[in-house]
Amino acid sequence: MTVTPPRSQTLSWVPVVRIKQHAPSDASGPGWAPVIALIGAIGLLAFAIATVLARQSPGVVAPPTADILYWAAIFLVTVPGGARLLSTRPAGGERLFILVVIGLGLYLIKMLHDPTMFTFFDEFLHVRSTEDILRTSRLFDPSPMLPVSPSFPGLEISTAAIVSMSGQSIFVAGAVLLAVARVLLVVSLYLFYVRIGGTERLAGIAAFIYMANPNFLFFVSQFAYESLAIPFAVFALYVVARRQYGDDPRLRSWLLVGLAITATVITHHVTAFALIAFLALWGVAALVLARRGTRSRAPLMPAVLAGVVTFGWLVAVAGIVVGYLGPAVTAAANQIVSLTRGDQARQLFSASGAPQAELWERVIAYLGILALLLGLAWGLWVIWRRGNLTAPVAALAVGALAYPASLAGRLTESGAILSDRAMPFVFVAVGFVVAAGLDRRRFAASATTPPLSPVKTQDPARGAPRRWKSIVQPAMLVLIMASGVALSFPVWARLPGAYLVSADPRSIEPEGIAAAQWTAGQLGRENRFVVDRVNRLLLGAIGDQHPVIASFDQVRVRSAFFSPELGRDEIKVLGDAQIDYVLTDQRLSSALPVVGVYYEKGEISGGRWTEPIAPEVLAKFDGVDDVSRIFDSGDIQIYDLRTLTAR
């Protein structure tokens, strides 16, 4: 059917006849994509073997063979597809297939890391929120693990829907949901780039570079709210672009924009803020360009809608987010200011109880950042030199400048966290700008013509690319991807392995899980626990208990946890916090905490442990009158403090 939409339903200045011309050539076949999928699948098998070897090793880091297989897997999943995307030959359909293969391949690497349960820190927090929804059939049940989580329940709602309708576990439902979200992200991103004026080649390269952001491999693959919110936000950008160029009749356009923006806001706070920021930037770019005589329409209504929905949600439901994000931003700002005054910078690639990455990995990481910075400079120059900017391209160009700015934040502890979190947003712009530099003739061709001009996949008159390009461009993409992977996760966490002290996924093991299950079965739910960082995750998500920490409960019980004796002061602290039980894990005294803390941030003066916690500290509850040692599994003990704290 080729019915043309009524003119009244489209933008008045957009020739209706051009609407279908700009659509990517998705009618074409998958081309080399099946072969690339097969190679990627072999890469996944290599990664699976790497996990087996790593799990058999008692070391902190994986054995060399496992490491080689790890890098081989990354290479097989990403490089053949990346090389094909650089080619001028594939049509739109093949490029999309390849991008989906790479996107899903990288997601499956995360799933193969722990194929039977969620083990990442944030995942436990959202598992608890999902369980609360399934238990009560209601939203907004307070979470003792991440109080802000129930206020942004998009991920949990979707997962709970699949669990309820299928009878599957939260793990399976969440994994399937995030796989679908990954497809939504990759396809939306590619179509967005195409829609705002990029060629299919540029869009493919840009989406590939996006997938090289350090958070793509693990962080936004985990069961956490940003992993669903970012696909929603990119989807929102795509439907806003469609609206700006009049692809959809008014009703459909508004439905899509409204749904995408609202879902983003409900799912994750920072992603909502980033979406508003980009839409505002897009709007400002359009206004500036309009003053310079370039016809460009600002996405004012979507930006206003995003702002209103976000403000309304914060006021009505999620006011807690101000207290949640505020301290993190303030701490980062303070640390950056301290850095400018000559304070010592954070040591990169290190953790207190774990080894650094190999030298060659650090070199690759830095070279990849350098390649990105050079690519950015070159891409910005190409965009600037060609002129005739469209508003979204100008917005992306300005947005990409956030990347070098974010690198400065990596030199401080808090700034590094914010910089990490910003990467999935910043790379939307970085990917496009760097790709514009790599595909400059084609980008220029579309940038100097009206935004709805047809896009050619191939330019027969162009001939073969220059030889230096055929070497430099693939090398640059490989370097950028390798850098992103090297920066994605600490060397001790990217593969599973033997138990490590306070090392999040490496500390999740059967004894802790069994202890948490025992509390759920024997003690009832929502008992207030003093418990270390890792067992807190298990007690909260599996045991359905209430682990008490300073940042959420506004009480500081860690002084009692770290005190060498249980005196009057400690008993008062525990009593004021209405503590019911304490769980101790003797393994904590065997090594330094890999993530830097045993209990919570700020637990040690100077910020860094230099020797492990003393065994006596953990054993101080033994032999105290009226403190029953009710559970013992060797490493883990649970003490009943209720009689003591009720006095």
Binding site: V52, L112, I157, A160, D248, P496, P510, G521
Partner: protein, 271 residues
């Protein structure tokens, strides 16, 4: 209504109905339910809605796919907010009802708004059947084989990873626990064996220097639980803890686990 719209409405109705039925049916394997119900969460309502919103504006396959996907997933999130204010809340039935009704209502609107659309008489792209007949059979077979081989390898990769998880060397452990059992003179004692093998253990229950009860040999298979309720008359009125000590048979002098219970201990909130 054109034949293509009629087919769309029919497809929406069938997939939504099957998904909704699978969601509320009992006795069906969860994996089968997932396969049948997932489209109702991530595709069908969104597809029906965007088609109903503009029946006269067709979408390319890729755009239609991604718009349906995004709209459906967003609808599910908003649907959760809607169910929050209904008496039923979020249950399998309410989810199935809501997503089914959105899909069917949109399909009806699509049918109604398409009733005057003229069927497309222009050239249409080749279907898979056409491609097979026209000699593309070999290409399709090659593509299909490659994708199938990829899927098989991915499944094998998960098999290998799960094997590695299940066979990771880990120290075994046993749990010993003690809890008050309602009456102040009684306590429940339990042992759970997660050593990865059967164990033979001895348990002694003492109050002060008095042995109140003794189990000299408890054989526990891997994964098994042993549980007893012990009555200790002097416990409730005394001021000493009840101590349960676990030793491995053959190593009587080496305490393997121990737990204590004071007379003042309260019942767990679960009791």
């Amino acid at each position: 209504m054109s034949p293509s719209v009629r087919n769309e409405v029919l497809a929406i109705s069938v997939v939504a109905s099957v998904g909704a039925l699978a969601a509320v049916a009992s006795g069906i394997d969860p994996t089968v339910r997932l396969v049948l119900a997932l489209p109702l969460v991530v595709f069908v309502p969104g597809y029906a809605l965007i088609r109903a919103a503009a029946p006269a504006a067709p979408l390319s396959p890729v755009a239609g796919f991604v718009l349906a996907l995004g709209a459906s997933m967003a609808l599910t999130v908003l649907g959760g907010l809607f169910l929050q204010v209904t008496p039923a809340g979020m249950t399998s039935a309410s989810w199935a009802d809501l997503l089914f009704l959105i899909s069917m209502f949109s399909a009806i609107v699509l049918a109604w708004r398409s009733r005057h659309l003229v069927p497309d008489s222009g050239p249409r792209g080749p279907s898979v059947v056409d491609l097979v007949r026209s000699g593309e059979r070999r290409t399709i077979a090659v593509y299909g084989s490659l994708f199938l081989a990829s899927a098989v390898i991915v499944v094998a990769a998960f098999g290998v990873a799960i094997y590695g998880f299940d066979n990771q060397p880990r120290p075994g452990f046993s749990q010993l626990w003690i809890l008050p059992a309602g009456d102040q003179a009684t306590a429940t004692i339990g042992i759970d064996n997660d050593e990865g093998q059967a164990i033979d253990v001895a348990l002694t229950l003492t109050l002060g220097s008095t042995v109140e009860a003794e189990w000299p040999s408890i054989n526990l298979a891997d994964g098994a639980r042993w549980q007893e309720t012990a009555v200790v008359p002097g416990f409730a009125t005394g001021d000493q803890p009840l101590v349960a000590t676990l030793t491995r048979v053959g190593f009587p002098d080496s305490v393997y686990r121990y737990v204590t219970l004071w007379p003042s201990a309260q019942l767990p909130t679960s009791s």
